[in-house]
Amino acid sequence: MQIITEQNLRNLIDLLVKEAKLVVGPKLSGSVVLYEPLTAGTELTLDALPRRSSKELFFPVCEDILSYKREGGAMKVTDVDRSKFPETVLFGAPPCDAGSPSILDAVMSWDYKDEFYLERRKKSTIVGIACTKGDDACFCRAVGLAPDTENGSDLFLTPLKDGSYACNAVTEKGQALVAAHKNLFAEGAGAEPVPFVDQAVQKLDLVKIKKWLEEHFEDPLWERIADICVGCGACAFICPACHCFDINDEGSTDDGVRRKHWDACGFAKFTNHASGHNPRDVQNKRYRNRIMHKFKYYDDKFGKTLCTGCGRCIRACPVGIDIAEILETINGKAE
């Protein structure tokens, strides 16, 4: 087994920074921990789940997709130079974050390829870490992941009781990362792993839930649970799997950029037609779409559940809507 000490993990970050890679990891920014570019290994903060998910590494909150400029009489449109996207290493992503890109790959490469996402994805290596923290909002086990799920990570670290980490190079990218810095890793048996926390929510039968959703497009449950939703986008924006976006032009008619930025299905105007007709005209329909998209539609289309159980939406919901509780309710109803 490959072992890396905590100090060497931080050294590895220093080295990668030195190699002019973009190194991203949980970092204290003001009062919140966010995934941010690290300039030194010492900045890596592993004791809290970052407030925003690591999806923004591949799917930034707002990005330019083209720029336009009128030159003389003619309009000139310039593509974004995606070759400039840097080689990136993501550190310290727990399974619920590390697992999200492998879910999103499907929609982003379905037929038309979103090269903004895919280029970043191609150039990044994910160093995941087994989760030993967790709180009562976590429910990764319920959606089929676990605190030690390696799937999604290129290199997976398991914290050991002596402070070092057991490493498993899951993919070729991970193996390459280890191979290039092999002096920092040692071969050994390693100490005992730090135990994972128990989760309040037990594993759910997602097939059963999906079936219930299929049969209950109209159900009083939607009104009961979703009418207290105030229609903000907090849950969608901090979700590792939500990927809806909006496209807008900013600038003048002669010179500006077109930008793609996060959008949320909870917003009242999300589906509003120019005519004023709105297919999802009330909040519980919008909330239903959120649940359906995550646990039915995405599975129908791509064979995956659009949720990693990170619990961020539960912690952030202004009115305490608890998606884990909703899933348990459905699980119970679907007997």
Binding site: I65, L66, V107, Y112, E115, F245, D249, T253, R258, P279
Partner: protein, 280 residues
């Protein structure tokens, strides 16, 4: 520069002509600026595109011209929002962006040898007009062609010059109508709502395909009429319009249940529509 293709990058097109169909509906004829694009741009009737007005954003409309007419495309829109208003401010010679064509299309080859009934209301004629011209250009491949088209008032009828042309052609039966109260003194069509007029016109369902497009309320009342006339759900086609941003199945806006209108649609049979979650 990168080799990967940016799916959000539009082709540039120049506005060649502008036609005002009604006081607030306008048709733009667009010619691609790049010669290679102009020659290679192919689409099928029923597909849509994302049209951009730089500085304001993109808007989704069907391609309203027929695929059989090469060298240009046409879009037809009502000025209701930020993008459409800005498109309306553009003049001949100005540049717009066009991404597309996207979505599926009407399976015209499957209609060969059959009769066609087009039923449209208001601004929903353009998505069918592309099919109508496509079929008229291949007239001998079809049997009877009937067009039932209505709008709120005489002024709201789009493509007036083409309606006249269709009326004068011997090989098309055009039934045009306006809602009660919408007819001028010289109006030569019928007065009444589209479903009622359709029932009166009573086209035969025998070996016939119906293509319906219009506001949700019109569709709602037209489908039972078609049923009474003997059309099966598989022989009724419609095209759905939902709000879209990306047009390529990513942005998560246009879905009706698990159906992405932009990828799986916009053309559906009545059977497919009835199978969807009723959320549109």
């Amino acid at each position: 520069m990168c080799e990967s293709k940016n799916i959000y990058l539009p082709n540039l097109a120049t506005i060649e002509t502008i036609v005002d169909e009604t006081p607030d509906v306008r048709t733009l004829r667009l010619v691609f600026q790049d010669e290679a694009v102009r020659e290679n741009f192919n689409f099928r009737a029923g597909q849509f595109a994302e049209y951009s007005s730089f500085g304001f954003g993109e808007s989704t409309f069907c391609i309203a011209s027929a695929p059989t007419r090469k060298g240009y495309i046409e879009c037809c829109f009502r000025s209701v929002g930020r993008v459409t208003e800005s498109l309306r401010r553009l003049e001949v010679g100005d540049t717009v962006g066009v991404r597309g064509p996207y979505g599926n299309s009407f399976p015209i080859e499957e209609f060969y040898g059959k009769s066609l009934v087009f039923i449209a209301g208001g601004i929903a004629l353009p998505p069918l007009r592309t099919v109508i011209w496509n079929c008229l250009d291949l007239r001998d491949k079809f049997k009877d062609i009937t067009i039932v088209y209505g709008a709120r008032s005489e002024a709201d009828l789009v493509y007036k010059h083409e309606l006249k042309e269709w009326q004068e052609r011997g090989d098309v039966r055009l039934v045009k109508c306006v809602d009660p109260g919408g007819a001028g003194p010289d109006f030569d069509g019928k007065v009444g709502f589209v479903p009622t007029v359709l029932e009166e016109a009573a086209p035969s369902a025998e070996n016939t395909i119906a293509l319906v497009c219009g506001p949700p309320i019109m569709i709602k009342f037209t489908l039972p009429v078609l049923e009474r006339l003997g059309f099966s759900d598989d022989n009724i086609y419609t095209t759905l319009e939902n709000r879209m941003k990306c047009g390529v199945g990513k942005c998560g806006r246009c879905n009706v249940g698990n159906v992405y209108v932009c990828k799986d649609g916009p053309v559906f049979t009545a059977r497919e529509v009835k199978a969807m979650s009723q959320e549109f």
